[in-house]
């Protein structure tokens, strides 16, 4: 279904996302969700990064939190608000904010 899912939290569980199949899913990391693209707790990356190859993080939310593009996992494409608009309209058939 090419669903783009917005993840805006880091620690708050997104149980529904865990249950959804990854093949038609994309993940857009915004707000505190961008920590998924950077942090390695206990040396382990976020499980979300293995969920789908279609991963995006919002540059303004990285910048706000003092996170540089170099810290971001290479699988994650960094987009600004303008780029995010294109992602919403071109890369997915529908979008959902968890």
């Amino acid at each position: 279904m090419k669903l783009g899912v917005f993840v805006s939290d880091y620690k708050v569980t997104v149980e529904t996302l865990d249950r959804m199949k990854g093949e038609n899913l994309g993940i857009v990391l915004v707000q505190n969700g961008v920590y998924h693209a950077v942090l390695k707790e206990g040396g382990k990356e976020s499980a979300l990064l293995g969920k789908t190859p279609r991963l995006y993080a919002l540059s303004e939310d990285l910048q706000t939190r003092g996170l540089s593009p170099e810290q971001v996992d290479k699988r994650v494409k960094i987009v600004d608000y303008s780029g995010l608009v294109d992602v919403i309209f071109n890369d997915f058939e529908k979008v959902a904010w968890l």
């Binding site: 917005f6 608000y81 919403i88 997915f92 979008v95």
Partner: protein, 119 residues
């Protein structure tokens, strides 16, 4: 160009999600998309006029005015708004007041819907 409708529920102050919604709306409008914003829940407080922009707090008014000048339609849930003690006479000009079916009617003609629920 497409139509993007956003349902925004989080409050103006205390949730970055509100700021996100307005920034995204502006970026989409700048690219020529049609954008509709529906405020429900705590987000409806943001339609009150004469907000003072203190730098420790997010502000809605000046951005909402800019968005509406760009053609973005903004509508607040009347029931949610009056339940928070805000009357239509106190509202930022040009913000529409309506019932929940306004949101569904905009959803009907949208290419994308982003529903940002409250926390």
């Amino acid at each position: 160009m497409g139509v993007l409708t956003m349902g925004v529920f989080p409050g103006l102050v205390g949730s970055g999600c509100y700021d996100f919604a307005l920034k995204l709306a502006g970026a989409a409008a700048d690219k020529g998309h049609v954008v509709n914003i529906w405020f429900s829940g705590n987000a409806t407080v943001s339609v009150k006029a004469h907000q003072k922009h203190l730098k420790d707090y997010s502000t809605g008014e000046k951005y909402l005015v800019e968005l509406m000048e760009k053609g973005v339609e903004v509508c607040t849930c009347e029931a949610c708004t009056v339940s928070r003690g805000i009357q239509k006479t106190e509202s930022i000009a040009k913000i529409q007041w309506n019932a929940m079916h306004w949101y569904l009617s905009k959803i009907h003609c949208s290419d994308r819907v982003l529903q940002i629920g409250g926390e």
